[in-house]
């Protein structure tokens, strides 16, 4: 794809977001207003900035990534606008911030490349862990940075600067930092990890000593589950680490041990925690527990079923009946109003993004970059599967966001940075 074609798709996708907004307006009796223009402009400026940054600092990067990202962001945005215009306004600001940050990342890596990340891996780990535990700061102390509990999970940090109060989820950025650290760590120890193993039946198991990092990651995930009551992040982090460990070593024993550890933790969590039990009940029998545990999932399925093939039309369905539709259930909201066609398109776009990411990993010659690209892509793919699969009852529902589509500033910023990293790697490995 040429740059020109890339720009054409950027403009088209920005137009798609603006067109969606105008359709929602029409459904509510309005027309083309300032929201339509603003949406078009913000999309064009945000993604135009990233595209320009890529053009300057990573000119050999794959042109296949960005258009899909704009498309899913546009589809998600139109549904956020439909559900809550005020949040959509905020989301536009976050889109600009995220695009700026992604461009800054491209600029920072321009001179020294992604290998600089490998060198600072311990610092990155420290920052990530700090970000991860930040929500556990007291929520009532004098210091202007405070933790906050929302819907029973402790994922938020607010910065109160007196004149403005900004809330964000540091975990979304910590996730990226941890993947960077894991890739660096595994690139360093890959040889040792790969060679030290023994065979048990068809599986290659690592030496007990080599399992220590696995156990550490597991411990960290369990702590998140207990401390912050965030099933999704906990699962995602652990899955990311196990999959990356396997990618680095090829030892299937890691997958087996990982699955055993996850099941063990999951079972214990089910016994011990009310919030995990509620998730499982809602997953297994949403319609039998319609009034409480299953309500959100049942409403999500009603939304999808009511949307059927062609959807109700933007603004004409009732996705607002799903609790937390803009954050947790944006996929179901899109399915209701844009129909099965859009659901399939969204899954296809995510598959395409994963395929491009995996392709970048394949072509990478450096171990670190290979593992980084693979790690970022795997975490991204697993996240999509966990939340969409949760809505479609394939797995228990975890309250994680759907990348680029869900309402949520921190997630949008984090995922744009993730794409910037992938773009940079593809540039470094190209020709």
């Amino acid at each position: 794809m040429t740059r020109r074609a890339e720009w054409t798709t950027l403009v088209t996708a920005s137009g798609l977001a603006a067109f969606g907004v105008s359709l929602v307006n029409f459904a509510n009796g309005g027309g083309i207003d300032v929201q339509v223009g603003l949406t078009f402009l913000v999309f064009l400026i945000a993604f135009g900035t990233v595209a320009t940054a890529v053009h300057i600092w990573a000119p050999k990067a794959t042109p296949l990534l960005l258009p899909s990202v704009v498309a899913v962001t546009a589809i998600g945005f139109l549904e956020i606008f439909r559900l809550d215009p005020i949040r959509a306004g905020l989301q536009r600001w976050w889109l600009l911030i995220g695009a700026a940050l992604a461009s800054v990342v491209l600029w920072l890596l321009a001179s020294r490349g992604t290998s600089v990340l490998r060198r600072y891996r311990n610092l990155i780990l420290l920052v990530s862990v700090t970000l991860l535990v930040a929500p556990n700061l007291p929520s009532d102390w004098g210091f202007p940075i405070r933790g906050m509990e929302v819907n029973g999970s402790r994922l938020w940090v607010t910065i109160d600067l007196g004149f403005i109060n900004v809330g964000f989820q540091p975990g979304e950025l910590a996730k990226l930092g941890l993947v960077v650290f894991m890739a660096a760590y595994l690139a360093d120890h890959q040889k040792a990890l790969r060679e030290a193993h023994r065979r048990v039946g068809p599986f290659r198991f690592p030496e007990p000593r080599q399992l220590i990092p696995l156990l550490l990651a597991w411990g960290a995930s369990v702590l998140i589950l207990v401390w912050q009551r965030d099933l999704g992040a906990s699962l995602l982090l652990f899955a990311g680490f196990v999959l990356l460990l396997y990618a680095a070593t090829g030892a299937s024993g890691y997958l087996v041990s990982g699955a055993v550890l996850a099941l063990l933790a999951g079972f214990t969590a089910y016994q011990a925690f009310d919030h995990v039990q509620r998730r499982v009940i809602g997953w297994l029998a949403p319609f039998d527990h319609f009034a409480d545990e299953g309500y959100q999932i049942a409403q999500g399925l009603f939304a999808l079923g009511s949307g059927s093939l062609s959807g109700a039309g933007p603004g004409l369905g009732r996705p607002d009946l799903i609790p937390n539709a803009a954050t947790d259930f944006i996929f179901a909201a899109v399915g209701e109003e844009l129909g099965f066609a859009a659901s399939v398109a969204v899954i296809a776009l995510y598959s395409l993004l994963v395929a491009v990411g995996i392709g970048i990993a394949f072509r990478s010659r450096s171990t670190f970059r290979k593992l980084l690209a693979a790690g970022l892509t795997l975490v991204f793919g697993v996240q999509v599967f966990l939340i969409v699969g949760g809505i479609l009852r394939l797995v228990p529902l975890t309250g994680i966001t759907l990348p680029f589509m869900s309402y949520g500033g921190s997630a949008l910023v984090g995922n744009l940075v993730l794409v910037a990293l992938l773009l940079r790697i593809s540039h470094e490995e190209a020709g």
Partner: protein
């Protein structure tokens, strides 16, 4: 290292494929089921404030209409006859969904003047987008009479025209005011109705199956007469207790006495006096298969075409053909034998109609704002359930029940009434009184089933003492003074 990454990539693609399969399952395969789930408020919500069509009885009484609210362009639904039609007309609420005819005919009743693309295209093609109206088969006077006759009892009455299948009255109690589900208190009222131990939202006439008790003896008799296994005069032993084969259990009569003189009796006496001893023996003689053939011709063990789903009436042919003790109990309408009052009224109707069963229906025609008919119901025969000779003999037997047997309470002065009583095992040790019948005998125009769900208030009332007099009042309302 590309090997493991490739395998992981394959894993993710498989997962994405699973998402595609799952989304197809919910949005294509099960889409209608999810969309029409009564707990899904969406279909009704999109209709909020829109005009819906009229529902009118066969004699012109409006039972549902939309009225434009003052000061707004929104319409509100009004049910002028309230709880009398609650289970037939149902409700259309944007918060708790729709029920009964409001749900079954919602696509006809709704106005199509909205923004969906397909409707805009229809408008351009000149199609009428105004709501359509329903004319239903219910007769308002009979409906009111049935509602009054049932009094404060828990139960149901359903009356159908045996010649056409037109449902002339369908009442279930306790009932509810559909208007409760329209206003500001909808959700609180809904909670009350759902948790009410009397379950007022359930239509006991068509949505719940009960043991039919001795009213099922009509089916056994029809099978016996049709196969020639017995005639009214066929004699039977007359014990106090009938010993169930292969079991120490026994079946006795409601009176605790033998049916006749303790030596011999006849099928006719067994029918008129509702003797379980006689019918236990007769049932085993006829056999599960032949009873099953008659029952199935009357619409049992299968789905019926009705505006909403009717639970299947149950006769376990296969299981009972291997177990005579169970068969004998089932033949007197107990054990696993189950039917809705609608099914039981259909039995009386088939006898009244010379042995031919007609599919019952509720909506006579759909008409537009100008009164022009768009659809009419066509009478659909379910099939011949028994020969006309059998029907004639059974009619005589059923008339004897009302003139000299357990059903004397159903008699109407000056009218020849035929029927059969039943007193079935109900819940919590209370019995459920039944009556099924039709009138007038020489050219029947109404077939009826009355069910009382036994409770502390009804005590140990029987079909003859409680259900038959109620049926008498309903039949009288239909045939006298019109």
């Amino acid at each position: 290292m590309n090997g493991p990454i490739r395998r992981l990539a394959v894993g993710i693609y498989v997962a994405m494929g699973a998402l595609l399969v799952a989304v197809t399952w919910f949005q294509v395969v099960r889409a209608d089921e999810l969309k029409n789930d009564p707990r899904n408020a969406r279909p009704a919500l999109t209709e909020r404030g829109k005009e819906r069509g009229l529902i009118v009885t066969s004699d012109g009484v409006v039972v549902a209409r939309s009225v434009e609210e003052e000061g707004s362009r929104d319409f509100v639904r009004v049910y002028p006859e309230g709880d009398v039609y609650a289970h037939v007309v149902g409700y259309s609420s944007h918060l708790v969904g729709e029920s009964a005819l409001e749900r079954a005919y919602t696509t006809d009743l709704r106005s199509r003047r909205d923004l969906t693309i397909s409707d805009m295209i229809s408008a351009i093609l000149g199609r009428d987008l105004r709501p359509r109206n329903l004319e239903i088969t219910i007769d308002s006077r009979l409906q009111q009479a049935a509602f009054d006759a049932l009094g404060n009892h828990t139960g149901a009455i359903i009356a159908i025209d045996p010649r056409t299948g037109a449902v002339r009255a369908s009442v279930s109690k306790p009932s509810f005011e559909p208007t409760l589900l329209l206003g500001a208190e909808t959700v609180a009222n809904w909670e009350d109705l759902v948790t009410d131990p009397g379950r007022p939202l359930i239509d006991r006439a068509t949505q719940e199956i009960f043991a039919p008790g001795s009213t099922f003896k009509t089916v056994v008799s029809a099978a016996a007469l049709d196969t020639g296994i017995a005639e009214p005069g066929t004699t039977f032993d007359d014990p106090v207790e009938f010993a169930l084969p292969g079991s120490t259990a026994t079946i006795s009569n409601a009176t605790g006495e033998p049916c006749n003189d303790g030596v011999t009796t006849t099928m006719l006496q067994g029918f008129v006096r509702s003797c379980n001893t006689v019918f236990a023996a007769l049932t085993i003689r006829v056999g599960a298969e032949d009873i099953g053939i008659t029952a199935e011709a009357l619409g049992w063990n299968r789905d019926l075409d009705y505006p909403w789903d009717i639970p299947r009436a149950v006769w376990l042919t296969d299981e009972l053909s291997r177990d005579d003790a169970a068969l004998a109990q089932s033949g007197i309408g107990e054990r696993d034998t189950r039917a809705t009052p609608l099914h039981m009224a259909m039995i009386a109707a088939a006898v009244a109609n010379g042995g031919v069963s007609v599919t019952p229906y509720l909506v006579d025609r759909v008409f537009d704002v100008d009164g022009e008919t768009l659809e009419t119901h066509e009478i659909a025969e379910l099939g011949r359930a028994m020969s006309s000779a059998t029907a004639a003999t059974l009619t005589e037997m059923m008339e004897r029940v009302v003139t000299e047997g357990t059903g004397r309470g159903a008699a109407v002065p000056g009218i020849r009434v035929a029927g059969k009583t039943g007193t079935a095992t109900g819940q919590a040790g209370f019995s459920n009184p039944w009556f099924i019948g039709f009138a007038p005998v020489d050219s029947p125009t109404i077939a009826i089933a009355v069910l009382i769900e036994g409770n502390a208030a009804s005590g140990d009332a029987s079909g003859g003492s409680l259900a038959a007099p109620i049926a008498s009042r309903v039949i009288e309302s239909w045939l006298v003074g019109r």
